[in-house]
């Protein structure tokens, strides 16, 4: 699943179109989705962003291959051009900083970012937004450091009065291809092959149910050992390799169960 958190509807419009998302009404937020994507409009500000992110991820808890991206505009010092897109590697609010991991190659400029409470016309040393810190804080309860991306497009040089809804929409629209590319790169490096097939998972479960808790833990470990070591299917049916493990249907005594368990471990780890 791809989770997208965006502060304003104007910033979201181009993304909704690009991903062909449909409006949904499952949560008390403006939300869009398709089969693989959930997009939430958080509203402006750190607290709103934190709450919306918590609500979204709490409603549909992510797994280890999921990604969250925050897309939005930011103010920045003059060395950054208006319309330039940035990938954020450090987010600071007051005295605290957090560090999303960027573990893939890309051609965007990277930057630190300051999250503040109000739009500011005071020149700062680095790009500034109002949401990223809150999103990171909330999302880091659910996701690992490489599963969060912060994509910002420079909208102004600390002249908040120049930023209109139209400008925000235009800036994101001009970047949709780059945003799509960054998401693909992040998702590519996060891909993890499943160790067990669904058939194997079923077999493991069936056998585990016959064992005591500690035996079941040891058996699951042994299955891992077998798959990593032999690199062959575990499932005895319909495969070339037969590992020799199978579930037994009839009720067995404790003594028989212990013998059965020993045999399983031997088969899988020798």
């Amino acid at each position: 699943m791809l989770y997208i958190v965006i502060a304003l509807s104007a910033e979201a419009r181009a993304i909704v179109q690009m991903l062909k998302l449909k409006r949904v009404y499952t949560l008390p937020y403006t939300m869009f989705e398709n089969e693989d994507v959930k997009l939430i409009i958080s509203g402006m500000g750190n607290d709103n962003a934190m709450m919306a992110t918590s609500t979204l991820l709490g409603h549909l808890p992510p797994c280890e291959s999921d990604l969250l991206i925050n897309i939005g505009i930011c103010a920045a010092p003059k060395k950054y051009a208006i319309g330039e897109s940035l990938l954020i590697h450090k987010i600071t609010r007051e005295e605290h900083s957090c560090f999303p991991d960027i573990l893939f190659e890309h051609s965007l400029k990277e930057s630190g970012l300051l999250t503040v409470d109000k739009p500011t016309d005071e020149e700062q040393q680095m790009p500034v937004d109002m949401e990223s810190y809150g999103i990171y804080k909330a999302a880091s309860r659910f996701l690992q450091t490489h599963q969060m991306l912060f994509y910002k497009v420079v909208s102004d040089h600390f002249e908040p009065h120049t930023v209109t809804k139209e400008l925000a929409e235009e800036l994101i629209l001009a970047n949709v291809k780059k945003i799509e590319d960054i998401i693909s790169r992040a998702q590519y490096v996060m891909k993890k092959e499943k160790l067990f097939t669904t058939d194997e998972e079923e077999l493991i479960q069936k056998i585990s149910d016959l064992l005591s808790k500690s035996q079941s833990d040891a058996f699951v470990d042994a299955c891992h050992y077998y798959k990593f070591h032999q690199k062959k299917p575990l499932h005895p049916k319909g495969t070339l390799h037969v590992s020799g493990i199978k579930a037994i249907d009839e009720k067995i005594s404790k003594q028989e169960r212990n013998k059965y368990f020993e045999q399983l471990i031997k088969t899988l780890t020798l």
Binding site: L2, L19, D36, V37, E64, H89, K90, S97, C98, F99, D101, I102, L103, F104, E105, E110, G112, S140, L143, Q144, T145, H146, E180, D181, I183, S184, R185, Q187, Y188, V189, M190, L195, A218, D221, A222, H224, Y225, Y226, F228, H229, I265, T269, L270
Partner: protein
């Protein structure tokens, strides 16, 4: 979303995290100049990055980053139960680098740290100062305990700095353990009787399966030979031995290969030991779900996991028998659970 085939960062250290307090240190500047393409991220304290919760060790291992920091005391730790202190009254290891460029599936570091990144403490003089009171007596320091210093030598010059320090202090003994093939990095230094270069060897098949990013057996052997020929004291560690059904085909021939490459009488010592680890670390390594090593049905005793007594015995007896074809038993050290 379309799926592009894009690799992760191909080079080490796409990002350098630098503590504000060390930005002006000469070593920091030198490292920055070597990594001109890396993004520099200023941090307050290395733990803000290194100790973050929810890092993915396996994922970070594919794209490791470097953190430059200032170490605060303690600068020395007493040698661990899992390693050999060689009967020195003072045996310490220095946590001057945390984390390793290599990526061995059985490494306890992956069970100990949240992060696969490395921390280099650039204030080496503070380590030396902490050591001074102990140097009245022979003192052994393992400088590559939580890392492989020679692997990262071209970036840090860390091994060189320690070897040069040892040259000035006759009671300072060093053990420099490595899987690298990087003897050339210290080749120009004068060899020192008090320093042991300890190379870990494994059969090539084991290297390929478990010791990711490390040099091949051939390359390590070449480096060992060079070091011995240059007059250095070299200990070869076939430790940890990873046991499986191919043990007899893989490990005894490794001993033959070693002694066909070097002259047996020139090897200072051979260390043999089978895989063992604290069960706490093993539990964490299991969570990474990367390798069969984490899932073998080990025996647990006193919070240490190891092979069964019979397997351990078999490993040691087989290896000792083969090794004594080349060197006397007195030059073979073994690690076995008591």
């Amino acid at each position: 979303m379309n799926n592009l085939s894009k690799p992760s960062h191909s080079d080490f250290f796409s990002h350098l995290y630098i503590e504000e307090s060390v930005i002006d240190e000469p070593l920091t500047k030198e490292i920055i100049s070597k990594f001109s393409n890396s993004k520099i991220i200023m941090i307050k304290h290395y733990k803000d990055v290194f100790n973050r919760p929810n890092q993915d060790f396996a994922m970070q291992s594919r794209s490791k980053n470097l953190i430059l920091a200032r170490r605060e005391a303690p600068f020395l730790y007493e040698g661990s139960y899992y390693s050999d202190g060689f009967e020195y009254e003072n045996f310490f290891y220095t946590p001057s680098i945390l984390g390793c460029l290599y990526d061995c599936d059985y490494c306890y570091l992956s069970g100990m740290y949240n992060s696969a990144n490395s921390v280099l403490f650039v204030n080496t003089d503070d380590f030396f100062e902490a050591l001074t009171p102990y140097l009245e007596k022979p003192t052994l320091i393992a400088i590559s305990y939580d890392t492989d210093t020679l692997a990262i030598e071209s970036i840090t010059s860390h091994t060189k700095i320690w070897i040069e320090h040892a040259a000035k202090h006759p009671n300072l003994h060093l053990e420099i353990r490595t899987k690298s093939a990087n003897f050339k990095a210290i080749k120009s230094l004068t060899c020192n009787e008090n320093i042991v270069l300890a190379w870990t060897l494994s059969p090539q098949k084991i290297i390929e399966s478990y010791e990711h990013k490390t040099p091949s057996l051939e390359k390590r052997l070449r480096s060992i030979k060079e070091a011995i020929d240059a007059g250095w004291k070299v200990r070869v560690c076939i430790d940890p031995v990873i046991y499986n059904e191919e043990f007899h085909e893989l490990y005894p021939p490794l001993i033959d290969k070693l002694f066909n490459t070097i002259e047996p009488e020139k090897l200072f010592q051979l260390t043999l030991g089978s895989f063992r680890m604290s069960s706490t670390h093993l539990k964490r390594i299991k969570k990474l779900r990367r390798s069969d090593i984490a899932f073998y049905p080990y025996e647990i005793k006193d919070n240490i996991v190891s092979y069964s007594k019979e397997i351990e015995q078999n490993i040691l007896e087989t290896m000792i028998e083969r090794a004594t074809n080349y060197i006397p038993r007195t030059r073979i050290r073994t690690w076995q659970l008591q």
